[in-house]
């Protein structure tokens, strides 16, 4: 059964130095508040997994939390490069970053294998690509019926998965909708799962086949309104496209990135204070 905790408590209890951590959300519902809290609590040597690293991992990598990144597309969507990611890969700053690089189809299948308690997944992929030459964990398997050779990829089994969702009820049952990404699989593939939500509600009132994660599949649930901004939460707020563009400037140089991170993350108490410093339009009046 999920335990309702503050985000600080949840990260303190369930994300440990050296852990393999998946933070998912495919452009939608990216758990930025949780990412900030990991930086704030100075976790180190994390093996990060995420299909689209996005700004959330640019921040974690630049802040020195990561030793490894498993990913399939590392850019600032609609804008350009992830400068902290590139700086780590191209210049080992602030530390070398081991890459385990895959395709979207591969990583999506690898999460499915993890959720299904299988050691590997089979896909029709990578034909003619150089990726299997630089990642020895992309292998092949032969169909025992047709003799066809297909790509094989090891299952993803994170120590902890962190996602953001729209709602959870008192018991900790979680509901998300809209662009679902790979969140359900990432939670079910993990040993532990932390879910931040926009609202804590009495009942979910979910449609019959909605994406619901029962309380007993979740370790901790935390109420963090606007916890996905600058990503968006369908039905709650829009994507902060201006911030995605601004990030290009904030992150381009090491010093400006460091100053921004100190002011906005390290020296803020929590995500609500971040929203205040950031002058986020959604900050509740109560916190001003």
């Amino acid at each position: 059964m999920a335990e309702w905790l503050s985000l600080a408590e949840a990260i303190a209890a369930h994300v440990r130095d050296g852990d393999t951590v998946a933070m998912e959300g495919f452009t939608h519902l990216i758990p930025f508040a949780a990412g900030h809290e990991i930086i704030r609590q100075k976790r180190r040597n994390l093996a990060l997994i995420r299909m689209t690293p996005d700004l959330i991992y640019d921040q974690l990598i630049g802040a020195g939390c990561a030793r490894k990144l498993t990913f399939s597309w590392g850019g600032n969507p609609g804008v350009g490069s992830l400068h902290r990611f590139r700086d780590a890969v191209e210049h080992d700053w602030p530390a070398p970053l081991e890459l385990e690089e895959r395709s979207h189809s591969d990583l999506a299948n690898a999460y499915v294998a993890g959720a299904s308690n299988l050691p590997f997944a089979v896909l029709r992929g990578y034909s003619g690509s150089d990726l299997p030459r630089v990642n020895e964990r992309i292998r092949s398997v032969t169909c025992p019926f047709t003799g066809e050779v297909l790509a094989a990829t090891p299952a993803v089994r994170p120590d902890v998965t962190v996602i953001h969702a729209q709602k959870a009820d008192e018991k900790g049952n979680v509901l998300l909708w809209g662009v679902l990404g790979v969140q359900k699989e990432a939670v079910l593939a993990a040993q532990r799962a932390i879910v931040t939500v926009e609202e804590r509600v009495r009942t979910l009132d979910a449609p019959p086949n909605a994406c619901v994660l029962p309380s007993w599949t979740v370790t901790a649930v935390c109420e963090v309104p606007r916890g996905a901004t600058p990503s968006y939460a369908h039905g709650y707020y829009e994507r902060d496209n201006a911030f995605y563009r601004a990030w290009d400037g904030i992150s381009r140089e090491r010093e400006r990135f460091r100053a921004w991170t100190e002011e906005h993350i390290v020296h803020t108490r929590d995500f609500n204070e971040y929203l205040r410093v950031q002058n986020d339009p959604g900050i509740q009046v109560a916190y001003r």
Binding site: F26, T27, H28, M51, T52, F71, S72, W73, G74, G75, N76, P77, G78, V79, G80, S81, L82, F85, R86, V89, E90, E101, R102, S103, H104, S105, A108, N109, Y111, V112, L123, R124, G125, Y126, S127, G128, S129, D130, L131, V134, E148, G178, V179, L180, G181, V182, K184, E185, C211, Y232, H234, E238, R239, N241, A242, Y244, R245
Partner: protein
Amino acid sequence: MSAAYTTDEMMTVAAARMLRNGAVCFVGIGLPSTAANLARLTHAPDAVLVYESGAIGAKPGVLPLSIGDGQLAETADTVVSTPEIFRYWLQGGRIDVGFLGAAQLDRFANLNTTVIGPYGKPKVRLPGAGGAPEISSSAKEVLIVVKQSKRTFVERLDFVTSAGFLTGGDARERARLPGKGPVAVITDLCILRPHVTTRELEVTSIHPGVDRGTIAGHTAWEVRFAESCDATAPPSAQELQVLRDLQARTAAAHGATDGAAAESA
């Protein structure tokens, strides 16, 4: 009759024209999304746009800035999970046309979106594969949209992220890739198509105001021209107006510069 237009507009219009009505199209962000939506708003109202975020049949009123914008979900026939979109829809063989971009391509339309320089110590670390390796293999046909330059149209890729025709000839068939592969590369200068036997790209249509020397000067290999090389029809007034209206609506909605395009597959 058509108004003055930019080379980017010519490229987008030429790409949009390639999409036949009713085609099921797997779309990445940036130029592919612009072209596919332009097609939907002009000659191909029944084109089905599938975004890798899981939105199937999306009909956005403005261009998405990211692959998973809320409007894609709101206007879609259904939104499925990321594993499902890659397993049942792309790998399942349900995609007629995949649109791809690239940082580099070679004469056999193989694509690089991974690194410039050596993989272990890259000069430029690019975003990576995304959906491209499987789009390029599983979509029935692939359209590539990319600005032409010697930096992009290279003699030899630093890294093959996604297969075109590999080493040419029947190499793709021998590798048993399910889809037909690239059927056209649409640039700001011209349209290239693979030769029927060698599968080397050759220029089949030249945009208005462009000459062969310019195309050759923007290609790092010795580019070939098809025997019957056409002149691309300029954008019509209607095509231009629909495109500009779409971009104006997008700018108003996002505050986005219209050229903002990532290399997302």
